[in-house]
Amino acid sequence: MKYIFLLVIACFSITLKGQNNAIAAGEKLTYTAAYNMSGILTNLAEVTMETSELKTSKATLLRLKCTAATYSKWDNFFKIRDLYESYVNPNTLTPYLYKRDINEGSYSKAMKYTFSHKTKTVKSVQTKKNRPEENKTVSIGSGTKDIVSTLYNIRLLDYDDMAIGDRKTFTIIFDRKEMKGQITYLGYETIDTAIGEKECYKLAIGSDQTDVLQGNNNNILWLTADGNKIPVYGKFKIPVGNGELKIKSATGLLN
């Protein structure tokens, strides 16, 4: 599931400073994650991406929440209940706080990043089962974001201004390390999805971490070519095989 998330992440992260005109609070996207077993795609888990408002005494933030949960028939074999969150500026989607809580089989881990954009550092707290809490401060670049916020940030790019083959690079912090990724714009494509036939932007996703995403143009993502730019379909190849992410439902869209 880590790989699926990394794929999704890598699928989406981008360094940009655009204004948010695609994502609003109250949006909920639901996906089915399927894995290729001996040539047969098997539905493994449900992935949701949800947004909501969070009011503090100083400001109103946008909470970006992603969850992954295995379907009940797999729970006895390998139960996954993962929670990823990012609390961001609603206008620019710049993250302040990132939280990750994963429960996969007998493995569990929690991670918290507190961003300080002034000092370009991230204060991290890692908690693992039967291990002491680990605190570490990591220096980051000016455009570095967490997985979840970069995942949403990709939707702020203006693909109409891009030519086929154009590339964008991005930096994300994952497991307290910065990693580089890139997307390549491959043009338009119309595909059938559970929410209807959609004209989409087709993007190839790459990463400098060869152990995460493998091959060139093996990891493809389709974003709707409308104001919402929601990811509707993704194909990925990871070290343990290949699979896909298909949209099931989309509600609360801004445009």
């Binding site: 100083k58 909470r63 209940r81």
Partner: protein, 114 residues
């Protein structure tokens, strides 16, 4: 040939029945098809020699059961996420904790509207 195909039919039909009762039941289709093919070959050679062993018919029975279970599960089993209470509780708890953490963070640097 007869002996080899009979053994292969037995192995693949057992594999099909095992896979059919697991969550990966759709994978049972491959050994089930193989079991049918090997079973038919074994049946053909046995008939040619004048004596059809009961074990060949038994592999057909196992294969049919495996295919029935696989098809039944493919049609009638709904895929759903269960046992989400812990995750939902964790989501709420995490939001409350985040609210506390965010109160301590200097948000003004990003000029957010209140």
């Amino acid at each position: 040939m007869k002996k080899a195909t009979t053994i292969l039919a037995i192995i693949t039909s057992f594999l099909a029945i095992i896979l059919s009762v697991l969550p990966v039941s759709n994978l049972a289709i491959f050994p089930a098809i193989a079991a049918l093919v090997f079973g038919l070959i074994a049946f053909y050679f046995s008939k040619k020699s004048g004596h059809v062993k009961k074990i060949i018919q038994f592999t057909f029975l196992l294969t049919i059961i495996a295919l029935s279970i696989t098809i039944y599960k493919a049609i009638f089993t709904t895929i759903e996420v269960a046992d989400t209470e812990t995750l939902e509780a964790k989501e709420n708890e995490s939001e409350e904790e985040a609210l506390k953490d965010l109160e301590d963070i200097d948000l003004e640097e990003l000029e957010i509207g209140g």
